[in-house]
Every structure is written in C-alpha cells, then in structure tokens.
Symmetry: C2
Subunit: 387 residues, 2 copies
C-alpha cells in the first residue's frame, strides 16, 4: 500500500522585513571583513516603521560608516520611497554596537582560555542536511519556494512587472508518494503591489509569470493557487511588520525538512559556530549524498563555548545509507575538521561573502563563494567507504 | 547489532538576553490581554547594553504603560544592578509600536476579506511533537537541559548560591542505544557569577548542587562536565550579548529532536498561527502518544494568510504507530479543529497566560494554564482508533 502525504515549506523575498534585517547585518559584516577579517562581529538589526536599530557586539580595527551601510542595503533592496514601507533616505538609523565581552573573547581567542586552541564562539547544536530531491541536493519544497520569490524580485527589478513591490512570501505544499515528491498541491504567494492594481490582474500575473515559469510543469496538475489571500497587500516592508535579524532561520536552511539547532546566521563572523558549523554540516551532508553513500543525510554537531572539539557528532541516513550511520560518523571525523578554526580554513570563511547569503537561502545555491556547496570530498569519501 | 549515537539539546535561563526579550514581549502581551483580549499584538524586543527597544504592531483598546511593563520584567528576572548586565531602573527604554497593517487585518478579521471565517494571521508551517522518553512526553535532552537552568535560577533566587547571576546556558548530550536514551555523555553549564568567585568553587557547586540533583542518577556514569568553559563569565545579560525576541525557538520547543517551522512565539497573540498552531500541534501529538497510538508522533500543519483551513496536515509516527499515519491524519482532522478560531477556543488562548511560557520551554511543563499539555482527547482518540 502506498503512503501519501503533504509537506510544506515557505520562503520570503529580499524585501521581507526580517530579511531586510538579515541583509543589513550581513552587509555590516562584509564591510568589516573587507577591512579586517580578524574582527569579531555579532551584528543584530531591528527595522520598523521609519526606524532601523543596529545593535550587537563588534570588536574590529575597521573603520565603517554603519549608517551608510544600512541605508545602501535598504536602497539596493528597493525601498526608496516611504510609500513602499521604508525609505532609505529618510528613515532613522540608531547605532548601539558594543564590543565583544572580554570574558567571551578569552574563551574564543587562540592561545588563551581553558582550551588553548581557538574555542567555539558559543555552545549550541547545528544540523546539516542533503537529499537527492533536486540536482542541488536540497529538499524540493524549500527549493521551489525560493525560486518563486527570487523570480518575483527579478520581474520587479527588470521592470517586466513594474507594479510589484519588494515584500513577498511564497509557500509550496508538495504531495509525496512513498517518500518521493510527485506533485504540487498548493502554492501560496503574497506579494506587495502598487495600490492601483486590481487583484484579478495580480492573480493572473502571479500565476502565469512568476510561479509557473519556475516550477516543474509535470507537477502542476491539480495545483491550487492562493495569491494575496488577504485581498490587499499595499502596506509592506518594515511598515507592515517589524523585522529582526535571525527570524527566518528555517527559510535560511531546509524549510523544515530537517531539524534546526536554533542559532541564526546573519551578522555573525565564523568564529560563531552557529553559522560556521551549520555551513560545515551542509558541506558534510552534501558530500555524503553526492558520493552516493546515502540518498538522504543529516548531521548534528554540538559545541561547548571556548572548546575546539565538538561535544557530539551524529550522522543519520534514515535507512538510505550504503554503510552504517556509525561508520559514516567515523568517516566524517576523518575527512572533515569540525573544530572552529578547521572549518574556517576548510571553507575559507574569513572573506566578505555574506551579503549574498542573506536572502533566498544559505544552501542549495551554486554561487562561487558558497564553498560549503562544493562536492570536492566525493572521491575521498567513496575511496574510504570502499565504493 | 546495536546502533549507538549521541544527541544534544540546550537550554538557557530567564536571564539570557534573548529570553529577557521574549519575557518582555510576553509581559506586554499579557498586560494588553488583561484589559482587551481582542487585541492584535506582535511585540518585538531588542535589549543591549543599557538599552531596551520595544517595536512591532499593536492594535488594542488597552491603555498600557509599556515602559513600566518592560522595567518590571527586567526587575523580576533579577537585573537590578548595572554590574549584572542591565539595571531595570536606569536602562533606556524606547517605544516604537505601530498598529497592525489594515491590509493584514482585513484578511484576519472574521466576516471580512476573501475568507469570511477568521483567517490565519500569517502563512507558514508549524510542527508539533511528542515522544515517550519522559513522563511529560518530551524528548529527554531538552527536558533535562531545562531542569538545569531552572535550578540555577532557583538557587540564585532563594539565596542558596548567592554568587549566581541571572544569565546561564545548559547543554545535555545524551547517549542513545537502539533509539533509547541510556546515559548522559556530556553536560555543559555556563553560569554568570560574582567576580570574586574562583572557578574551582563554581565548578564544584555547579556539578553537585545545580546539575546532579536534577538528572537521573543512573545516567551519570562516565559523564563529562564542562562548567564555564570560557574560564570567566562575569559580564552577562544584555551587556554581554544583544537579545532579541524569537531567537531561542529551538529551546522554546523540542531542542532539535523535531523540525521547526521557523515562526517565533513570544509577543504574538494567538491569531498568529506561528504560535497558536504550534501549541495545537503539541496538543495533537501529545494526545496521540498519551493514547498509546504511537511512541513518537510528529505533526506538520501549514496555513495561507487570511484563510482559515490549514493548507496541509501531515502526521508521522516513524514506524511506531498502532494505525497508519494516513489514518491518524484523518483522526486528527476529526478530533481537532485546526482553524485559527477553533484552536483559540479548543485551548482557551485569549487569556493573559503567556509570560510564564517565555522561559524554560513552552512545552512539557504541567502548569495549569498550559492547556496544550492536557491529555483530554485520549479516550476519544482510542475509541475512534478501535483500541
Ligand atoms: C502577516 S505579517 C506578520 C504579522 C504582523 N506582525 C501583524 O502584526 O499582523 C508577516 C509577513 O506577511 C507579509 N504581509 C504583510 N502584509 C501583508 C498583506 N496585507 N497580505 C499578505 N501578506 C502580507 C509580509 O511579508 C510580512 O512581513
Ligand atoms: C557567547 S554569547 C554569543 C556571542 C556574542 N554575541 C559575541 O559577540 O561574542 C551567547 C550567550 O553565552 C552566554 N555567555 C556570555 N558570556 C559568557 C562567558 N563569558 N562564558 C560563557 N558563556 C557566556 C550568555 O548566555 C550569552 O547570551
């Protein structure tokens, strides 16, 4: 008897207020890393009607005009008119950064603290995941949810649908039969729009020009489309909803197809394992699936603050592995250095590459800077596994 | 051959800066609900060195002194001295609440918008989970991680360990054999402390008086303890780390033992399904496990903004179910009304009960107000399943 179920993931556009906050945080990080890659950065952002607050902990020798970086980010996203939800020229920007706590720094710095190696910047748990549902080895629902909002942004920016505005959310409900996606049951898209647009015209354009071009045609049989189901979405961006850094962590990762450790990414330099070890987890899981060692792979790692070696490493393949999960966990320890400094070196993370990660997902995108998406460990893993 | 692995979850105390933000947001919500339970509330908080920012969207007839509620919450937590990380008396509190967007309100209000029923306050996905690892039907790692920081707070507040300060984090790594927890491999505890305390004395007190009394003795055989592994933790609270509402969503739920939809809870009134449907998901999953229909149960629900009926409902029992997952999904639809208004009525959510949820977990606690922890559907579920 076949087993059927529905599974849902969502994404948001770069104009979503939480993503505005993430992008400002990562633009600040990049600006700092361009001058001083040894900096410690934890840049949090809050944006609301007419207001941006920059807070967190930054220790750096870089000299940055933070207010300018925030305004330029808001401008790049497309908020250049107060009617759109915020105006980069006229919003207030408050700056309240403090330095990294010296008590934390002594645990993290190499050669200081209880563990003389570079310690993890915090305790915590992180997951990595990969599966063979798409060529990028991502779960299909989040993958397609990203493509919809990405296209919304393209058509807005290149002027093909000039009535689109920056804020948007998508949601894809997939039908699975026996563990494989076979159809798209429901697509939800809410997109901010110019006030003069009729909902009927929005519906038509959304379905025909935004959604259908990016979804597999064979999955669109009895698909239900829910477009702007509130009936109106003129007020948007930080005016419609207060945005905070780190509040789209499931959109950032696997759309709920895998667990999450809870740590946010944006605004954090890679001494923070919340970010770097989650990237490493993706790299490990993707290489295992790319090597054909499993169809689905999930890894959990955990750390104690100030200590280099992970406190645990767990690998699961849900019965799809060519070798046992325990053997795989051993292979992982042999082939991947999961200490904070090892991760930074393995993935070359002390570079200003983060602004791009802050919208449309940190994983499953073949951008040249996304070193964690490389499958360069495949041959070594296969050899060690005896395949 | 037996299968062994390590699994880790963490928790934080009420003095952790992200939790300070969550508790202020929920104290604001409760203050509003005490006067006007029909209010729409999305209260976000940011707290940093000497600064608290209150922002978000609130539509209410209640008349609240927001600054006073924020200060009283910080005082209750124990931050009454700037040396501890923030002082409720002398910190700045900025208030920047806006109203709920009228475009959103027309989708959510009953009798208005495209769906005349009360629509979901947002799109999104939510998970519920329960398993038989503890009597409260919670995953063991997060359960014990909560107990450690809860005890840290007790011993601080009742004066038994007067050198403890409000900020703390715990982490528990469990050893599983064949899917069952059998031992505690590692415990991490970082606790803020008075500057004059020696680390040796902190270690001893932490292990003997905080950790051991709350963990099962039979699981403490070869356990490793990592206490304050940075070597010093005097600076803490919002001064050591900027806190934001909704940044401890895995601590709030299942510690990574189940997926998360990404939506935060604190500060949100229950018209926001991020909160109410996650509570309902816990209620469903817990009743299924309590009814003996499965040893582990996970449910995913999803919504479109402005629409009452969920866009998907998926139930998984990981092969532990007494009936098929598809049959269970049908039972769920029969016995639980998962429309936003149905959830609010089923769990009696229009009450000022949220401040308590904002530290030590929203789930697995037998507080009288936590209606989502009741197992009052057990008999009906068993009867329908023919057990
Ligand atoms: C619905 S809001 C969250 C709730 C909000 N804080 C409130 O107080 O009602 C979440 C997101 O939905 C989108 N949104 C805003 N206005 C909308 C509308 N009128 N219709 C559909 N989606 C909307 C935006 O992307 C926004 O960031
Ligand atoms: C390590 S901080 C996160 C990183 C921080 N934003 C930074 O810039 O370094 C996360 C949490 O760790 C705890 N913490 C703060 N200072 C600590 C210390 N000196 N040793 C151990 N834990 C600490 C607090 O609970 C704090 O909220």
């Amino acid at each position: 008897m076949s087993n059927e179920y529905l599974f849902t993931s969502e994404s948001v556009s770069e104009g979503h207020p939480d993503k505005v906050a993430d992008q400002i945080s990562d633009a600040i990080l990049d600006a700092i890393f361009t001058q001083d890659p040894q900096s410690r950065v934890a840049a949090e952002t809050l944006c609301n009607t007419g207001l941006v607050v920059l807070a967190g902990e930054i220790t750096t020798r870089a000299n940055i005009d933070y207010i300018d970086v925030a305004r330029e980010t808001i401008k790049r996203i497309g908020y250049d008119n107060a009617d759109f939800g915020i105006d980069y020229k006229s919003c207030a920007v408050l700056v309240a950064y403090d330095k990294q706590s010296p008590d934390i720094a002594q645990g993290v710095d190499e050669g200081r603290g209880v563990d003389l190696e570079q310690g993890a910047g915090d305790q915590g748990l992180m997951f990595g995941y990969a599966c063979n549902e798409t060529p990028e080895l991502m779960p299909a629902a989040i993958y397609y949810a990203h493509r919809i909002v990405e296209r919304q942004s393209q058509l807005r920016k290149d002027g093909r649908l000039p009535w689109l505005r920056p804020d948007a959310k998508s949601q894809v409900t997939l039908k699975y039969v026996d563990g494989k996606p076979v159809a798209i049951d429901t697509v939800v898209l809410s997109t901010q729009h110019a006030p003069e647009m009729e909902q009927k015209a929005i519906h038509e354009a959304a379905i025909e020009e935004i959604i259908k071009p990016v979804l597999p045609a064979e999955w669109l049989k009895n698909t239900r489309y829910l477009i702007n189901p509130t009936g109106r979405f003129v007020i948007g961006g930080p005016q419609g909803d207060c945005g905070l850094t780190g509040r789209k962590i499931i959109v950032d990762t696997y759309g709920g197809a895998a667990p999450h450790g809870g740590g946010a990414f944006s605004g954090k330099d890679p001494s923070k394992v919340d970010r770097s070890a989650a990237y490493a987890g993706r790299y490990v899981a993707k290489n295992i699936v790319a090597a054909g060692l499993a169809e689905r792979c999930q890894i959990q790692v955990s750390y104690a603050i100030g200590i280099a070696k992970p406190t645990s490493v767990m690998v699961t393949t849900f019965g799809t592995g060519k070798i046992s999960d325990e053997k795989l966990a051993q292979l992982v320890q042999e082939h991947f250095d999961l200490r904070p400094k090892g991760i930074v070196q393995m993935l070359d993370l002390l570079r200003p590459i983060y602004a791009k990660t802050a919208a449309y997902g940190h994983f499953g995108r073949e951008e040249p800077e996304f070193t964690w998406e490389r499958t360069d460990k495949v041959a070594a893993l296969r050899a060690s596994a005896g395949l």
